[in-house]
Amino acid sequence: MLQIRGLDVYYGKLHILKKVSLHVNKGEIVALLGANGAGKSTLLNTLIGLIVNQGGEILYQGQYIHTLPPEKRVALGITLVPEGKGIFKPLTVEENLILGSYSWYSFRKAKLLKETLEEVYTLFPMLKIRRKQLAGTLSGGQQQILAIARALMSKPSLLLLDEPSMGLAPNLIKEIFQYIQKLKRELKLSILLVEQNARSALSIADRAYILETGKILFEGDAPTIAGHPEVQRAYLGRDIDADVPL
């Protein structure tokens, strides 16, 4: 589905991603873990095209996409829910969702937009109740759900999630992770999940990568990674939600 080979990204002279290779198979959840500043967000932003890579290549469904602008990548079915959610706070919940369909919407598809909106409301009934509410007035957890729901409006096949649990209370984190699992099961989405909550992420992921200062340090099946002594020492020891197993 997605294959990254030898990706190099610089901010000016700073070498941020160093020959990163990674892949996501169809229908799997892949966790990308790493400390602050490791380059996780940079990787996702490069995948969607906000940042241009200086070296390496990105293959998506057999097509090279690293030269395409973001709107073309979204049209191909990749969607990023960015760090900090990126919702349009002065707009209503429904307007946010409608904007999610921008990549495929045309006048003739107005009916499809209605149906897609209903599907998303069925998945997240909370949003239907609040659809006229300004997005900025939602709670942090509700905003995160809105951001994910808006991403689904684009009918993606590959979903990139950048720290969806950031700043949320433990019970909400659990809810978000359950939703992510549901997306995989029911919508058959492939998901690349960036997280600092390593334990929770590993509990729902099929495979995982550990990124350290721009390099992939370990990769493997989620249980293997979770059991790896060095990973346990460096990433699982100080897990914020260590007390809240899923």
Binding site: I48, L50, P69, P70, E71, V74, A75, T79, L80, P82, G86, I87, F88, K89, P90, L91, E95, I98, L99, G100, S101, Y102, S103, Y105, G136, R150, S154
Partner: protein, 295 residues
């Protein structure tokens, strides 16, 4: 009372024009954070081009009207393509604003070359006796101006709230990066904002010329008036800046009527400075709201 009403009506008339200019400022500002200081020249362009089609080529009023609006939009498009697009990604806002000043000088020069320095005018949209309302005299053209402003407001409302394209422009104004993540081509939004802005500003010129005449060098003053209106109402909100336009028009007209007509332009500058110093976000929005709009 009649006198007051007379001042009030003429204030509303000028105000409607300021409102259109402020709106053209705002539409570009929202998608690019640029202040297009060539806005006044687009107003002049509208009036002069309208004269050319109507009086020189003797085309029908409606045809001339639509052609002039199209020229306004096309020059807006050309401005974006030739001067803004090539540097938008790399240049900082200050440089971009300087570019718009350069473009205004260029456009003014072209207009002087084509039309010379004399004032131009043409008949109003509909001939007929002025209308007397509670003792105050209202020219028929003024009624037309109000009708057009109301139409524009309806257009804006429908465009930004009911169409995907308008919503995308709003999204782009609120948060450009998130807009890109929705698959919105932000450069396309920038282009459309310049076209719309060119159309609205030239509409202002087309409508006001039968009342005040137009000459090639009226642009800079109109730019200042439109900019002051936008700051007064609060850059960022279309409704705010239009309200700012009407407010400035009325204040100017009352100042000119009750105090001295020479103070009219001073007043605009005074308001501009005061607002920039003490309430840069405008009368109708808090700094917090203004910031939310521009992330």
């Amino acid at each position: 009372m009649e006198l007051f009403l007379q001042y009030f009506f003429s204030g509303l008339t000028v105000g409607a024009i300021y409102a259109l200019i402020a709106l053209s400022f705002n539409i570009i500002y929202n998608t690019t954070s640029i202040l297009n200081l060539a806005q006044g020249e687009f107003v002049v362009l509208g009036g002069l081009v309208m004269w050319f089609f109507l009086e020189k080529l003797k085309l029908p009023y409606g045809t001339s009207f639509l052609l002039s609006l199209s020229i306004g939009g096309l020059v807006g498009l050309a401005m974006e393509r030739l001067t803004i697009r090539p540097v938008l990604k790399t240049a900082d806002p200050l440089l971009l604003i300087l570019i718009t000043i350069a473009f205004s000088i260029l456009l003014r020069g072209v207009l002087m070359f084509l039309f010379g320095k004399e004032p131009y005018g043409y008949p109003p949209l509909s001939e007929g006796e002025p209308i007397v309302l509670w003792g105050a005299v209202l020219q028929r053209q003024v009624i037309w101006i109000f009708i057009f402003v109301i139409l524009i407001m309806i257009f804006l409302y429908v465009f930004f709230n009911q169409t995907m394209f308008g919503r995308a422009m709003k999204a782009c104004a609120i948060d450009r990066v998130s807009a890109k993540l929705m698959g919105i081509k932000t450069t396309q939004m920038v282009m459309v904002s310049f076209i719309l802005s060119g159309i609205f500003a030239s509409l202002a010129g087309i409508l006001i010329t039968p009342i005040t005449f137009v000459e090639y060098d009226k642009g800079p003053l109109l730019t200042i008036k439109g900019f002051t209106s936008a700051i007064l109402g609060g850059l960022g909100s279309n409704w705010g800046v239009m309200a700012g336009g009407f407010l400035l028009g009325i204040l100017e007209s009352l100042t000119a009527g009750y105090i001295h007509s020479g103070l009219k332009d001073v007043l605009a500058l005074l308001i501009l400075l005061t607002m920039l110093l003490f309430k840069p976000a405008g009368l109708f929005q808090t700094a917090e709201q203004a910031r939310l709009r521009k992330l």
